[in-house]
């Protein structure tokens, strides 16, 4: 059995080797890099099933104070690995578009780093998943953030990509400022940075509720930004739209998943402070409700699919936050909040990646990312159309797809907490979701295509898409593998569920 950190080390090593290979080789074809990366990441993913979970220690001065290889983090590491693999596959499909947006000396020039940087991002995501200390969390989070700054602005001949890069940069740095200030306050209140110790200290603090709430808010702001919670969501639509599509997929899945886990871990110490609990839950509920409404309703009039997925990503963040906001109720119906969030994110990964995979292929072939470019897709490529139907159904929460269990768990959480207001919002937004997701289905099947050339799908993409479809159905029927993986080692997050 391998220690959990071997995963990060392997990915990092892969990144270094490829970086060196890229700079020293004279080959103009960079696609090989991506293929090697995908292949190796596949192996690393396989290795992840042979790692022993190793929760963090609290021994003073230990290396492992910062790093927890618990079951939940392992699941999130796998999510990160899978996302990276899929993103690389998308990147390959996207190459022709990307090449035009780069000031390249020759065809394919400059795309090498586009395949390698995600590996470092992946490392960051995995470290984030394991971070149980504020310092570690900060470092990992910034690793992810900075690599995303680069990736978002990567297509620098594209005004949109640059604009997205700048917006992400400024707002991201702003949120970093708040996170840092929040960490400062947490440290200031407790003198500790390790979550467990912070929790202990916070629980025994008396009389400084306002300061604790202030610290909580600062962290909420910082991480709320990362997970696209209203009112810190404004970067999401613009950045998602402007960024190269594979990067959008990466942002929307990888970054969000890791941030949510971190959010839960940071939240836990605050939930232990009974005197502030009602206010914390109230604010969480407000944020969750606003996110639900904003994401799902603003998606209704969207015509650009990429933007629509951005709003939908806000909407899904809303469901996740809703689940978290219902954390306070005692006794779980099905599973804890941590498991709910974990499963939801896993399902979200499958369906979002599938949607982006199809979007990438269609946009490359149709020169656009509007819904109208999907018109008549069922005639141009029945396979892609079907894949998109699966993705959209799953996102909308149709049963027997992975997305449904996620919604199911969230609604269970809501009802358990007797949050009737959130329940009403949930019902409205699910209805809205049916509309905007099915608009894509309608476009693909009801309307005539703008152009009739059939879309060819590369074998690797075909395999990826097929696997994603199969997984969506499989986990839509049997979620047990994910759920039990999330529950095996009862991590701190699961404790937060009660």
């Amino acid at each position: 059995m391998f220690p959990p950190i071997s995963l990060e080390i392997l990915v990092l090593a892969l990144g270094f080797i490829l970086l060196l290979a890229e700079s020293f080789s004279n080959s103009t074809n960079k696609r090989g890099l991506a293929h090697i990366a995908i292949f190796c990441l596949g192996w690393i993913f396989a290795i992840s099933f042979f790692t022993a979970s190793a929760p963090a220690t609290l021994a003073p001065g230990s290396y492992w104070n910062f790093y927890s290889g618990d079951g939940v983090s392992l699941v999130f590491k796998r999510i990160a690995l899978l996302t990276t693999i899929a993103v690389l596959v998308l990147a390959l499909d996207y190459e022709s578009t990307l090449a035009k947006l780069l000031p390249s000396a020759h065809k394919g020039a400059g795309t090498g780093e586009f395949y390698i940087l995600p590996l470092f991002t992946c490392t960051g995501l995995m470290l984030m998943a394991s971070a149980v200390d504020l310092v570690m969390a900060f470092a990992a989070l910034e690793l992810v953030t900075i690599s995303f700054y680069v990736l978002v602005a990567y297509a620098r001949r594209s005004h949109a990509s640059l604009e997205a890069g700048v917006k992400y940069l400024i707002l991201g740095a702003l949120s970093t400022g708040f996170i840092v200030y929040g960490i400062t306050w947490i440290f200031g209140l407790t003198g500790e940075t390790h979550f467990t110790k912070v929790a202990e200290k916070l629980a025994h603090l008396r009389g400084d509720d306002t300061a604790i709430l202030f610290a909580f808010l600062l962290v909420l702001v910082g991480l709320g930004f990362k997970v696209a919670a209203v009112p810190f969501q404004s970067w999401v639509p613009d950045v998602y739209e402007g960024a190269p599509t594979p990067v959008t997929a990466f942002l929307s899945v990888g970054s969000k998943a890791a941030s949510f886990l971190l959010f839960l871990r940071v939240l836990e110490p605050f939930l232990g402070v009974e005197s502030i609990l009602p206010k914390v839950l109230q604010v969480l509920a407000i944020v969750a409700g606003a996110t639900l409404i904003f994401g799902n309703l603003a998606a209704l009039p969207q015509n650009s699919l990429k933007r629509l997925l951005a709003y939908s990503s806000i909407g899904h963040a809303g469901y996740l936050l809703t689940a978290i906001a219902c954390i306070g109720a005692g006794g779980s119906l099905l599973l804890g909040v941590g498991t709910t969030v974990g499963y939801y994110l896993f399902a979200y990964m499958l369906m979002t990646l599938l949607a982006f995979a199809v979007l990438t292929l269609v946009s490359v072939n149709s020169k656009g990312e509007e819904i109208q470019h999907f018109n008549g897709l069922s005639k141009r490529s029945p396979f892609l159309a079907f894949a998109m139907v699966v993705a959209m159904s799953s996102l909308a929460g149709v049963p027997l797809t992975a997305g449904f269990y996620g919604k199911f768990l969230v609604f269970a959480q809501i009802i358990q907490a007797h949050q009737w207001g959130l329940l009403a919002l949930g019902v409205i937004t699910v209805g809205a979701g049916f509309y905007y997701y099915f608009r894509v289905v309608a476009a693909m099947y009801w309307h005539d295509p703008l152009e009739t050339t059939p879309i060819t799908v590369a074998p690797l993409s075909k395999i990826t898409i097929s696997l994603l479809i199969a997984s969506i159905f499989y986990f839509g029927i049997n979620p047990n593998p994910v759920l039990s993986a999330l529950r095996t080692s009862a991590p701190s997050v699961a404790a937060a569920a009660h």
């Binding site: 599973l335 009802i415 409205i428 509309y435 309608a442 759920l483």
Partner: protein
Amino acid sequence: MLTTLLLIPIVTAAALFLGFGNRTWAKGSALLQLALTLALWFRYNQAKAGYQFVFETNPLFPGVDLRYSVGVDGLSLVMLLLTALVTVTAVWFLPNLEKRANLFDGSVLLISAGATGAFLAKDLFFFYAFHELALVPTFLLIGLWGTGERQAAAWKITIYLGVGSIVLLAGLVDLLMALPVSSRTFDLQALQQLGAAHMIPAAAQIRPWFLLTIGFGILISLFPFHSWAAPAYASAPTPVAMLHSGVLKKFGLYGMVRLVLPFLPDAFHQPVWGSYTAQDLLLVALLGNILYVGLVTISQRKLDFMIGYSSVMHMGYIFLGLASLNLAGLSGACLLMFAHGLSVAALFAVSGTIRDHEGSLRFDRLGGASKSVPFLGICFAMAAFASIGLPGFANFASETMVFFGGFSPGATSFQKTATILALWGVVISAVYMLRAYKAVFLGQPTATSAKWTDLAGSARFALALLPLTLLLGGVFPRYFLGYLKPTLEAALR
């Protein structure tokens, strides 16, 4: 065996989507489904109550009793038979398409699979899931091959039902939450036993009751949540209209019988508004279906809308049976689900055929069709008479039970009044059905209707299957009741 029944349409649909096979496969699949259903029907042991042919896997959620499990009892058998019969007819009424016929056929089979799955499921989750799965093909088919304002109709049905399902989901979860933690389970049989044990205090029943009734109510087009139904059915391609109105819509009612009645019986008697109880509220809503929608039906000027609204109206009777909370009414309601499914499917089959001939279903453009298409005329007449509750057809037997149920000892005076008012609906339905029948089939043949060609070949048998089964059910309701009674008695206990 039950999983096979479920897999037949799914596998065939998958094959069709992948480009294998053709229309014959769809027909074969439907017939196989019917054959298997009949085999179940005859092999089912009526003497033993409860689920039979059960198959179940290990729990899918760690620590939660949620699993893939299928089984049939009398009620689900009746519903499965309905599904299989309507599927056979629907498959024979698939339109001739030049392109993408496989997509159409496969989607129709998927709708049937959704219904089959919902009725087979012995697990609450799969019961819910299969029904909603059928939404997607419905959406595709109505929007793609429907008529009239098909896209608007497709949107309406999808969003309406989507919202309905989510309310329903909330209700289901709330229902489970009302149980003590240790006894929470998704197994319908176990749930039924819990219901019998009165696990939920009366006061706690009213909220899940509302959520479930509204959720199911939207799916069943209970007044005032009915406005999706008629436009959707009017626009839908014939097989979709048949399957949806005939089979899929019954899911909600089936759910009411399976969940609301055994679990929340006391909720019916809880006052919700002044001294009026939840039951009274339901009665008012269902009178809305019967009287209000009935009158709206009279005002329709097109056959497809008329049938669509009539189907909404008849939901009121089924609800009346449910609301009576006794064996007579409930048996009537369940048999009426079966009967109404068959009759409305037959009506849609005929109206779809006429639309193919004429291109329009406006009453003022039609007339005298019995001259050129007597077979269609007879089938329509039988189905129409069945649907207005003429003796000899199963609908009458069920409606009789429903009415007697509404008047049984223990019925409140409000209930009795409602039943009498509902009885007036019988007159209303006769008015519109006869008007429609006369407008389409009687009178002077129009220039076009004289040239129509009647159904021929195997399609005749497929269509005749429905009214003949209705006759069987009307003459020997006891035969069907034998299947239903033990289940329903258990549900009412």
